[in-house]
């Protein structure tokens, strides 16, 4: 069990990272406003001083007042924004205190199980936040998306958790992401790069000094111009921006620029023509070793493929992904939705080698995902309700999803006390078998009004097969029923077993 509030704090660190970046940006805006207002005022004061005409003077003062009014209301708005995030931070600290109470107050008093039951509501809230986070972060793939009706935002508001997650920031990042990926909007990206110049540099140094979002952005812009055959524009970008990246002693950039430059002498149709026949030539590859001309063709292919990649549409998604990585790093948002990682952690802890795919599931297929598995008939052939496998890994919800997750490591048997075996090999806990059995047989004493006629008949039938006289064929206390199979056994057939 987790023993301190720090554990939860670490898991939710973006709650404390995102706001400070928002506050920092907000403050930069204030600074900029103040700067402008200052120089404006200096100017105006001078003008007012040097104006002799009273009316002109008054006009100038009025203009200054209007400007100062606007400035004040801008500042007021930003201070409000600042305070909004401050109160969010305070609320989040307050929420975390719950965990401190749970762990610090009761260390040792509870087993983890009791703690789970007692604080179910607290954990439920954590899990709801994970769901909201996933709904938000994966919303860029939605066929229809709108910020206002984003299902993550709606769920957050409904559950009153909207102050615990900075959905507006997450959605802002995804909006730019979509602009890049689907609308090939480089303007917005260039603007964003300029706004976040300093932070981007820091991220670059920390992660991979060779990759720069700014370079990739301008490089993409260069390629786009080549595609549109706007060569002069392409060259302009190259000489204005791309060259700056050459003196960084980074081979990769040099190589990229060189291959980009190579694009200048080809166009798309030409590249397509050269590469297209490949598919038909697979079988020729085997003997191409002996064929000089084939060798050459293969070589050309090898040279051209990387160039072709530059022109591919997928380049845009790579750029968009790279943007999102940078965006998330700046705001301290985790790159992968935590839901998926924690789902994997939990699944691997639960997954045993006994986890099987229930036979009631519909066939696995490449068909679209539907809800058929949840609408199955729950009854056995003889009308008894099937015993449920409560294991989450065996559920239709997660079975396929967790297929590739590793198994847990089991070193201890967890077999119940008093295990007994029925002649069919099924082993049960004695007490549970008897109480379950008597609950079912109890219905027989209980007049047939509670007993569906069909179940009654089935029971009688099954007893019949065991050769019991049909007239005395009520399940009496000397018999036991296998709750799984519906078979009936005499109590003397139950044997105690010893799993050591």
């Amino acid at each position: 069990m987790i023993h301190s509030v720090d554990f939860h704090l670490q898991l939710k660190q973006s709650q404390f990272r995102t706001p400070i970046e928002v506050l920092r940006k907000n403050f930069k805006c204030i600074q900029k406003l103040v700067e402008t207002q200052k120089s404006y005022c200096i100017c105006q004061i001078k003008l007012i001083e040097n104006t002799r005409n009273k009316q002109e003077k008054l006009d100038l003062i009025d203009a200054t007042i209007r400007q100062q009014e606007m400035f004040s209301s801008d500042i007021e708005r930003m201070v409000k924004e600042h305070n909004k995030y401050i109160s969010k931070l305070k609320l989040r600290v307050h929420k975390l205190k719950q965990f401190q109470i749970i762990y610090d107050g009761h260390t040792g008093k509870f087993s983890s199980e009791e703690a789970l039951a007692k604080y179910a509501a607290v954990y439920r809230e954590e899990i709801n936040l994970l769901l909201i986070d996933f709904l938000l972060k994966s919303s860029y793939m939605d066929p229809i998306h709108s910020d206002k009706y984003n299902s993550g935002v709606i769920l957050a508001k409904k559950l009153g958790l909207d102050n615990l997650i900075d959905y507006d920031v997450i959605l802002q990042g995804l909006e730019i992401y979509n602009e890049i990926k689907f609308h090939k909007n480089l303007k917005i990206l260039i603007k964003w790069c300029t706004e976040n110049k300093k932070s981007l540099k820091a991220i670059q140094d920390e992660n991979d000094p060779k990759s720069s979002l700014k370079f990739e952005t301008y490089f993409q812009s260069f390629i786009e111009n080549v595609k549109l055959a706007e060569l002069s524009k392409a060259l302009e970008i190259a000489s204005e921006y791309l060259v700056n990246f050459l003196d960084m002693n980074v081979d990769e950039n040099l190589y990229k620029i060189a291959s980009g430059a190579a694009l200048l002498c080809w166009n798309r149709t030409y590249l397509d023509d050269t590469v297209r026949p490949t598919h038909n030539r697979e079988h020729e590859k085997s003997y191409s070793f002996y064929d000089q001309s084939m060798n050459m063709v293969n070589q050309i292919e090898g040279n051209i493929l990387p160039l072709k990649e530059l022109l591919e549409e997928s380049k845009w998604s790579k750029l968009a992904d790279f943007f999102l990585f940078n965006f998330n790093s700046i705001y301290g948002i985790s790159q992968k939705p935590d839901l998926l990682l924690l789902l994997s952690v939990g699944a691997t802890a639960l997954k045993t080698r006994s986890c099987v795919r229930p036979s009631t599931f519909s066939e696995v297929s490449t068909r679209d995902i539907n809800f058929d598995d949840y609408l199955i008939d729950t009854k056995n052939k003889d009308g008894r309700i099937a015993i449920h496998n409560e294991c989450p890994i065996c559920s239709p919800d997660l079975y396929e999803l967790t297929h590739d997750i590793p198994f847990s490591h089991q070193v201890k048997s967890n077999i119940y006390d008093d295990p007994v075996m029925l002649p069919n090999g099924n082993i049960y806990q004695y007490d549970k078998l008897i109480s379950k059995s008597s609950k079912i047989s109890g219905e027989n004493f209980d007049r047939s009004k509670l007993m569906p006629a069909q179940l009654f008949k089935e029971l009688k039938d099954s007893i019949g097969t065991l050769g019991k006289n049909e007239f005395t064929g009520l399940l009496d206390n000397y018999e036991s029923l296998d709750p799984l199979t519906g078979e009936v056994f005499k109590r003397e057939q139950i044997t105690k077993v010893f799993p050591t």
Binding site: V5, V34, I127, L131, V345, V411
Partner: protein, 391 residues
């Protein structure tokens, strides 16, 4: 112990207590007032500019000072937070993960699991948005099932009305019994207690009538409880402190427990696990994660922990019994977990070992062998394949 949390909450407090921005706003407003005053002065032909100049200078200085102060606070918060919040989940969990980016089918499966969780919790309005936005079609039949559950729960929780639950339980009486659930009786019991408490000060006829109408059906199974309950009626009205009232409050009678039992039994009856699989798995992750962190720490410091079994975690995770869903049997001979390929086998002496061990002991099923735990000898033919069932 919770040093990071201490730092974070201190930093939040420090940042929150910095009111420099409020000062900037106040100063800007006072400059505005001074400008208005200036206008007034000029209007009255007193155009002395020295005043506004000093005020502007003061504004400028103060604002600069306040900017510095808030900037310092933000920077200090950032650097302190960076220092203490250094945990990265993907460093610790280095195994295969559920991935939705490269696998659209997985994404749909995650969506479906979320939909099921939201259905169980009655968030139908949110689901409408999810259906529309994510292109998911939830069958009406499924929604209706959960809507019915939701109505039962809402009238119970919000209106303290048990009747919908009782009606439902009565309709599914046999099914509930066959899954070994006492829910129907417990609901009657709760209703009885409710009626009893309402009419306690007068005459408890209402409760008595209810008992007569409903309890006889449960005579065979719950006679003991029923007699205790009725016993209470006889005594409590005359002697309030007799102690029998305990019968009315004993056991698992808290509303929360009831609420959960209704949920769980309802889901069992419609063929689903009683708790949300997504919820249970995520709950497990909170219990399991510390083991991952510990293993990560040890393997980092010892450099090299060799582990050869593929597709299995290299360490054990202790889960509470409520989160152990399968009977695990470790063969006492081979120390391996039994599986459907290598099932547990019961020897004639009723000791259990795995099939692989059995084959080894019997030298490929030819020899008689002695049970590893008792003197008895047996042949492979006498062993019975078994299966552990959890009820």
């Amino acid at each position: 112990m919770s040093s990071a949390f201490k730092t974070v909450s201190e930093e939040v407090d420090k940042l929150a207590s910095n009111d420099s921005l409020e000062h900037i706003l106040a100063d800007s407003k006072s400059l505005l007032n001074n400008l208005r005053k200036l206008r007034n002065d000029v209007e009255n032909d007193q155009d002395d500019m020295t005043m506004i100049k000093t005020q502007f200078k003061k504004w400028n200085e103060n604002t600069l000072k306040n900017e510095k102060s808030i900037n310092k606070s933000i920077k200090s918060y950032s650097s302190k937070i960076d220092k203490v919040l250094n945990f990265n989940l993907s460093d610790v969990y280095t195994y295969q993960t559920v991935d939705v980016n490269s696998n659209p089918r997985a994404r749909k499966l995650v969506d479906r699991a979320i939909v099921m969780d939201l259905l169980r919790n009655g968030h139908f309005d949110v689901l409408e948005h999810i259906e529309r936005q994510r292109g998911i079609k939830i069958p009406q039949e499924l929604i209706d099932k959960f809507k019915q559950l939701n109505e039962i729960l809402i009238s119970f929780r919000e209106h303290d009305d048990l009747r919908p639950a009782i009606t439902w339980a009565a309709r599914h009486s046999n099914e509930l019994k066959s899954i070994g659930s006492d829910l129907e009786f417990n609901l009657h019991k709760l209703q009885f207690i409710k009626l009893y408490n309402q009419s306690k000060n007068n005459e408890p006829f209402e409760a008595y009538k209810y008992a007569r109408d409903n309890f006889p059906d449960f005579g065979t199974t719950h006679l003991d409880t029923i007699s205790k309950l009725l016993f209470t009626i006889m005594y409590s009205s005359s002697t309030p402190d007799c102690g029998f009232e305990n019968y009315l409050t004993d056991g698992d009678m808290s509303n929360e427990t009831f609420y959960n039992q209704i949920c769980q039994d309802y889901c069992s009856l419609i063929g689903l696990s009683s708790n949300s699989p997504l919820y249970n798995t995520l709950l497990t992750s909170y219990i399991a994660l510390p083991s991952f962190i510990k293993y990560h720490r040890i393997s980092k410091s010892s450099g090299n922990l060799n582990w050869t079994t593929t597709n299995e975690l290299p360490f054990e995770i202790n889960l509470p019994p409520s989160l152990q869903f399968h009977s695990i049997f470790i063969c006492p001979v081979s120390k391996e977990e039994t599986t459907s390929e290598n099932p547990p086998m019961v020897l004639p002496c009723h000791h259990i070992i795995s099939k692989d061990s059995l084959i080894k002991l019997s030298r490929n099923s030819v020899a008689n062998f002695k049970c590893p735990y008792c003197p008895r000898t047996s042949t492979i033919a006498q062993a019975v394949q078994a299966r552990f069932v959890n009820l």
